[in-house]
Amino acid sequence: MAKIIVVTSGKGGVGKTTSAAAISTGLALRGKKTVVIDFDVGLRNLDLIMGCERRVVYDLVNVIQGEAGLNQALIRDKRVENLFILPASQTRDKDALTQEGVAEVLDKLKQDFDFILCDSPAGIERGAQLAMYFADEAIVVTNPEVSSVRDSDRILGLLASKTRRAEESSDPIKEHLLVTRYNPERVTSGDMLTLDDIREILAINLLGLIPESEAVLRASNQGVPVTHDISSDAGQAYSDTVSRLLGEDMPLRFHEMQRKGLISRMFGGGRR
């Protein structure tokens, strides 16, 4: 049975789409048949990050409105087997999505796939609520700053009340915290919230920590999910994240400042 995972945050620009692309790529690289759906109707980005923007013909809204079949709209990833993208429409708005339509699409996808990732739009309006409504698990993407943490907190409240699992009072959605753009130097200097602060406020399990990295920007602009850049810190961090999502126990990396040299090593400095 397929698992439906929503990637959400409340706040925009924290790395939802980057994370959805990277994690779905990571899952497919491990042989899991995975589809990633862009719910950001009207502001579609996922196809750019996945590097398939030139191959979009039909989209999610076309499928929901019966203008195209699901197989016509699904785009097969060129780099990884088992990975498919269902893009959003750029010309419609979020009112084109209906709950019944989304349910129908997800039900069909469930029969063929191991993982269905829903890339949520920012905000807490209709698009975001539909992206989370049918989820089994949620990855809440948070930056180490106050406003992002508060918005994530709000989203966690919605996950616990405005989703199918909440309405049917079945097992609650499994919530995961993914901290992105983490910069240990700036955390140490007090410019950013610490990982402990974030975990204390949000009080959910930590799935992964992605360091702020040049590799992420490069990957986005090239349309190659950062998981492919296995030499980069961010690529490795996403790979660890995928392992944890699959139930493996991985030690946390990239959350401490690099020791800079012999002197700091001698005095044990630089670490908190």
């Binding site: 508060r150 918005d151 907190d153 966690l156 409240g157 406020i201 949000l202």
Partner: protein, 256 residues
């Protein structure tokens, strides 16, 4: 409590009781006007309209002859159950009785003033009943927390969420995050960090208190007397604290 010695023979016993009751204070006698406002309220908080008993207060109206029957029908259409009328002229009293409703004497001006100040705050948010005078002795401060059950909430109260105990104390086993709101007719106990808004004694209970393991609250209020985060002595922040209303103001003390 009651002395039912030969209980087998007793069909009933009379007991004094004070029940929470919503007073619907009318400022218009026009049934259509009332209907419109009820309809919009109903869509905002449907949970409140569950055949909720209400006392229609007509003290503020200056009309000797109002169509009580139509007003009652409008209320029933919106699942409010008028059980009595308070105040009004002699014809109003007669028509209340004719409709099978009870009638209460108007409260005097000073009490009306007090009730108004108490009830203005909580009604919008909590789904419970507003305070009322069923008879002249009720609605004294301190009674409401004794009446209701304690509500225990386990888990984090998150931004945008509201947890309320409309008739008793509220216990939160977890944190109340920034942007969240907890309300109680009685006291509020937070076994975690209090970062959001906490309003105790929402029906006017001045004896209510707020207790928490870590104080960083955006707003603290006891019976409508409040302090914002900015007003709180910074030395008290981040530590266990208790909050009470004493000597006309909110007092925050470290909790040790």
């Amino acid at each position: 409590m009651s002395l039912n010695v030969d209980s087998a023979d007793v069909a009933f016993t009379f007991k004094g009781g004070m029940l929470p009751m919503t007073v619907m204070e009318l400022s218009s006698a026009d049934p259509e006007h009332i209907r419109r406002q009820l309809a919009s309220k109903l869509s905002q908080s449907p949970a409140f309209f569950q055949h909720t008993p209400v006392v229609l207060s007509v003290e503020k109206l200056d009309e000797p002859h109002l169509s009580l029957e139509r007003i009652c029908a409008v209320c029933r259409d919106h699942k409010l159950l008028p059980v009595a009328v308070r105040g009004g002229s002699e014809p109003v009293r007669q028509s209340a009785w004719a409709l099978g409703l009870g009638w209460f004497a108007p409260v005097d001006e000073s009490r009306a003033q007090m009730l108004k100040s108490v009830s203005s705050e909580p009604v919008a948010s909590s789904e419970g009943a507003a305070p009322s005078a069923l008879g002249d002795e009720s609605a004294e401060n301190g009674e409401s927390s004794a009446l209701g059950a304690t509500r225990v909430y386990r888990g984090t109260v998150r931004s945008g969420q509201q947890v309320s105990a409309s008739s008793g104390d509220l216990v939160v086993i977890g944190a109340v995050n920034a942007g969240a709101e907890v309300l109680a007719a009685g006291s509020i106990h937070v076994y975690g960090a209090l970062r959001g808004r906490a309003l105790a004694g929402i029906h006017g209970n001045m004896q209510a208190g707020i207790y928490c393991r870590e104080l960083t609250a955006e707003l603290l209020s006891v019976a409508g007397n409040y302090k914002r985060l900015e007003d709180i002595d910074s030395q008290l922040l981040g530590a266990p604290a208790e909050v009470h209303f004493t000597k006309e103001q909110l007092e925050i003390k470290p909790l040790n």
